[in-house]
Symmetry: D2
Subunit: 396 residues, 4 copies
């Protein structure tokens, strides 16, 4: 790989005065915070930025909370109803950081209003719902992106470049897991929207699994067949009034997959994997090399080269992906000064702004709604496979 | 766990004069070497030993090689035909280190001749074949054991004790892989008995998968259902005369499993996982704790305790399983002086000798032919599942 | 340790309207960027903040660069001469991010002007120079702090709490290194201010060594005696005109130290340690436990407890210091979502703002000028020891 | 490095009938066990062996224990007095596994009796004593070796080859520690010969430090200058009768060193480093590469190449030193099957037997008495330096 390979993605180029892009944000919790932080850092850290995000408005049903968020992050206006925000001509980019049941309707409305749409993952609760969103952005011809931020970890982008350039040769296998532990009994987590099928669509599958499914598609290619088992370990959780409510989503799933290119693998997610805080891990085995990654050490990529010489010192390379020749790193700090999880959103939204103002395609570097839809198809196939106890060919 | 917990297994006790047990060995290659080394070390390292193995005879079709092995390891006699060796009254323990297609007939004959039988894994090429062996040892009432040596890694025995004593609580998930790389193109491996279904039964499945299937059963319990995909990446390999022969076994498989106790997991094996030399790895997630193991660092066990205090320093423990309170370690070296892969056979054969002379049951610490048969049933179900593209309930 | 132990430092408390503190920044390179980023993040990430930093002015001799930095980070004014900036009544906090030879004069002037002073490390080129700065801030009675940001890594603060609360018992030993590689020949680094004694004071010692000396003092206590060797591996580097100039600072040093409390240790730094990008590592061995840290994995702390039960699973804990009960983490992200190197400055400057507006002492959590002076005394003693080839008792 | 580089050391070659070498062993404890095990494994594992060790006799003052050891390991005769054993003409190789105060006299007598002498480390309690031993073997012209077994770890031999072949270029720095914990209070260790200067010569220095000093000399070269601090943390320990006795050796030492070739480094050892069971670790930083090693993971070597391409995947290689092209591995097991600490003695004594029967030099692969003496000179200089509080040039 040429050492200049990442220049293009290492950061946007100077181009006179950067245009402003007005942002309308839906949601002010975990993702609202992560996205807002990204918008605020882009102008001076991804310097010079492709565009200057202007924090036009934030919308939320809880007016007090929305007002507080506006004050905290610097949004100019607050809307109680996202519909009103979408009518605001200053809003050019609609950022949907709401729960899964609030993805489709606002995103479709935003597309119809001609806004660029950035939506949290998973795109929708089902493939069918995702399809309506994909159709809407296609029809409206607006830029669209799903927030699969793992693609924007420098180490993951490095992995992408290694694979796409053929450095790993034919891919034989992929093992991907996303393990967390916060639904285990000792956390005392009550019934929340994430454990309710109506709101979330699915459990560990759509929340965690979707991340590693997207990254599997990104790195290895489309998935042809799945075979899965799902499990709910704690069947009831207390609702707001203390009454026990039925958990109707998966706490964990395991699946075997076959990719279109013939590689096979396993994809799993669990919220019951004690000791794993945020362990999105994968290992890809190829003909000429292998790679390993763990989100809990996101500044590192492990790489093994089959053809390495001398053989005596062949081994897994622990690559600290923090150097000036690594993706996006020139925008940050010198040698070995690591970045954090939040920085993935800075990279991701810079890319989206760049696509908007310079009319570039979101894919293949970012996940667009087509990717979001395909990921939803795989999730649906996993649920169907688990229910039928048989392998299912994914229908796109 | 009481610190004395491992005293019982830490080594045999003094008991006057140890009886001799005459060993008849079939095979002189990799496993013949590993088993012979174990027999030679037992008398002075597992001291005082439960029995003194007497190296009575070795059998092999290649007379020159068998003679060389006899001289090298100190076997008293050489037999060209294992049938003659089984007729030797000095042989009390028949150790079958031959290829998979040479497991059933000699083991059954040995049982019929009243010998204790120790057989390399996998027990047989199919469950049906394994059943004939199980029936034979049952009928003959002889001690029997399958060489699933992973059970005799101190760290794995520690894991067993932790789980069986309830320390991990309910088990939610298990992820197990056994990854190697020596069938990849750059190794230039020709057609060998391990890639030939007639001799081996299956490929990565029976060779590597069987190890982690056995250890999954050992640690988590019996497997109820499997769903699998198998793959052969290099379809032909050169035979002895250079002519290309069809590889009719799997180079890799992936499977989802459900255990009888409700835990779910994935089990995989591959001979195409570049960078993995001998990576039998597993992770078990339980209600009260989790454990992780990798055969390439077999002196270590990673443990996470859910209830650990203070919380601020809760984390995965890297346990160096080399201390006097760890299984078998008092027989070896002081603090932190690690042991090697070969030592698992020393522990395993000491256990078998102990079972023979003191009439103890081989299971649950060791794998007996019942375990070998059940493992074969799971392997068969995996192949059936891959062929049917559906989940299969294991039939025992 | 009580699980609430870190509440107090987990983030500032709401207190009505946060006062503004006007910031005047000297320097716009590496440290200017890191400090400016911190000031910009404090208002919304350390929420609610103890004070709102107002970016009043930036000063720099290169007017074009200073103007560019002002535009980039949002400083209201630009001063070509820092003296003019110190005369600006809107500036309450003087942040000195300049090279080492520009520390003393501006800091002393700032103190005399009644500004709070925040100075990059090392405080000065020599202990004597540092003493003039310490005298100035004492005389002026202004808040003062040296940017030893390692203290503000959550894992390091956790280590501090463990040690200070007696959890590790008596400390026996400390091994600390700070290893980098960017002065090695293959980097082609020319003569820069950091390799020039007149500007930098010393080489790896003041740049890297000072960090681990400060953290050693912070965690273990004051250093009584040192014995050192220094080395310059590449004696000449090209100047701006290509002419070779003599490197008169150390490329690396090694030292033995004895602490006032009787612990012994080694402290080293090198810019010639291939493979180490930013490896500030330390290991502290105590009577009741030990800890290990590496800046390249700053979200982790390794901890070993002597008294841990059960003994069978005793081992080094790999603590992911990313949970809600860890220092500062409640201000950031949920479980296992790691932070980056830059976040240490956010914590550090929040602390300094808190000290300014709420009249709290900078020490012991932060390093004040007294700490900066003592660190300089140790650096001087190391140079003296290397020159005399004898142990030197540090004179404070 | 040519991939055949290790062929020569991978194992002895066939050479008709191997001659017998009669072994006379002094000592039957830890080292007696380790050496006896090695002698017993050499004939069939280092196959074909350069010589067959014949276990002629064992000597020990405790007749019952010596008899038991003879029976356990298969020594033909037992001598209550080592002098009688040295008079036995069947003894050709004298193996001294006794405590440090029993090294000089028997070794010198053995040399005078024309026996090859293998002595446990450290060679002697002082350099002066070591010199008498060196003079004796030189005068007698007998083969001599000190049991610095770390040199015979495959990963360490690989490191040696890398450095000696120039692959690492000029060496800039070495950091070496040997950390254990078994003298800490919670172990309750009483006064033993290892804590008694009269018997042991020194404490952590001669026991642990000598190992890493030898390996430093082996890998980097001779040491010119040292500067050290020593410490005794627990000043008194109970004697056999419970009475408290003064510990007059070091519990830990730290030192800075300068090598003859200009490299600098630190060498430390401690028996008070909680969490470290047997942590002989070193890191060597060179112009073209760096290496890291830890005895607790002795099958691994970490290697970093400065000139590695592509740069994007440059990183520390985790080399599993278990492959057929690694030192001694062809004698053991296939890919990735790790060996243990005890195997170092198998390699070491095979080398010594090879030197004896084929008249080869022990050095530079093994440590001869000259190396043992030089190591003792460095130990003496460390003690002198600590006492004088000044750097000391090592006198050889």
């Amino acid at each position: 790989m040429a050492e200049q390979a990442f220049t293009a993605m290492a950061g946007p180029k100077a181009s006179g005065v950067a245009p402003e892009v007005g942002v309308g944000m839906l949601g002010y919790a975990f993702m609202g915070k992560a996205h807002s932080n990204a918008f605020k850092k882009i102008p001076y850290m991804m310097y010079p930025p492709p565009a200057i995000p202007r924090l036009v408005a934030i919308a939320g049903r809880n007016t007090a909370a929305a007002n507080e968020a506006a004050k905290r992050y610097g949004y100019e206006k607050v809307y109680a109803d996202w519909r009103d925000m979408l009518a605001d001509p200053d809003v050019q980019l609609f950022d949907n950081g709401g729960p899964n049941d609030l993805h489709a309707e606002p995103c479709i409305a935003a597309a119809q209003a001609g806004k660029a749409v950035f939506c949290e993952k998973p795109l929708a609760r089902t493939a069918e719902e995702a399809k309506t969103m994909l159709d809407a952005v296609r029809k409206a011809g607006v830029k669209n992106m799903v927030a699969y931020n793992t693609r924007f970890v420098p180490a993951v982008r490095l992995a992408y470049e290694l694979i796409k350039s053929g450095k790993l040769g034919r891919i034989y296998g992929m093992r991907a897991v996303f393990l967390q532990e916060w639904l285990m009994a000792h956390y005392g987590t009550p019934m929340i929207w994430r454990t309710d099928k109506k709101t979330a669509g699915s459990g560990a599958l759509g929340d965690l699994g979707a991340h590693v499914i997207d990254v599997s598609r990104h790195l290895v290619g489309d998935i042809k067949t799945v075979g899965a088992i799902t499990k709910t370990f704690i069947p009831e959780r207390p609702g707001p009034d203390g009454k026990m409510l039925k958990v109707d989503v998966d706490d964990a799933f395991v699946s075997v997959v076959e990719f279109a290119n013939g590689a096979i693998g396993t994809i799993e997610a669990s919220r019951f994997a004690a000791g794993n805080k945020n362990a999105a891990r994968f290992e890809i085995s190829g003909e000429k090399g292998s790679i390993r990654f763990n989100m809990e050490r996101l500044n590192e990529l492990e790489v093994f080269w089959v053809g390495e010489h001398p053989k005596e010192t062949q081994g897994w390379h622990n690559v600290l992906v923090t150097e000036g020749y690594h993706p996006w790193i020139p925008n940050w700090w010198p040698h070995g000064h690591i970045i954090g999880w939040e920085h993935t959103f800075v990279h991701e939204l810079t890319h989206f702004l760049d696509c908007i103002v310079n009319d570039k395609p979101v894919a293949p570097y970012g996940a667009d709604f087509e990717d979001g839809y395909r990921c939803a198809c795989i999730c649906d196939a996993i649920l169907e496979s688990a229910q039928k106890r048989a392998q299912v060919d994914v229908k796109y």
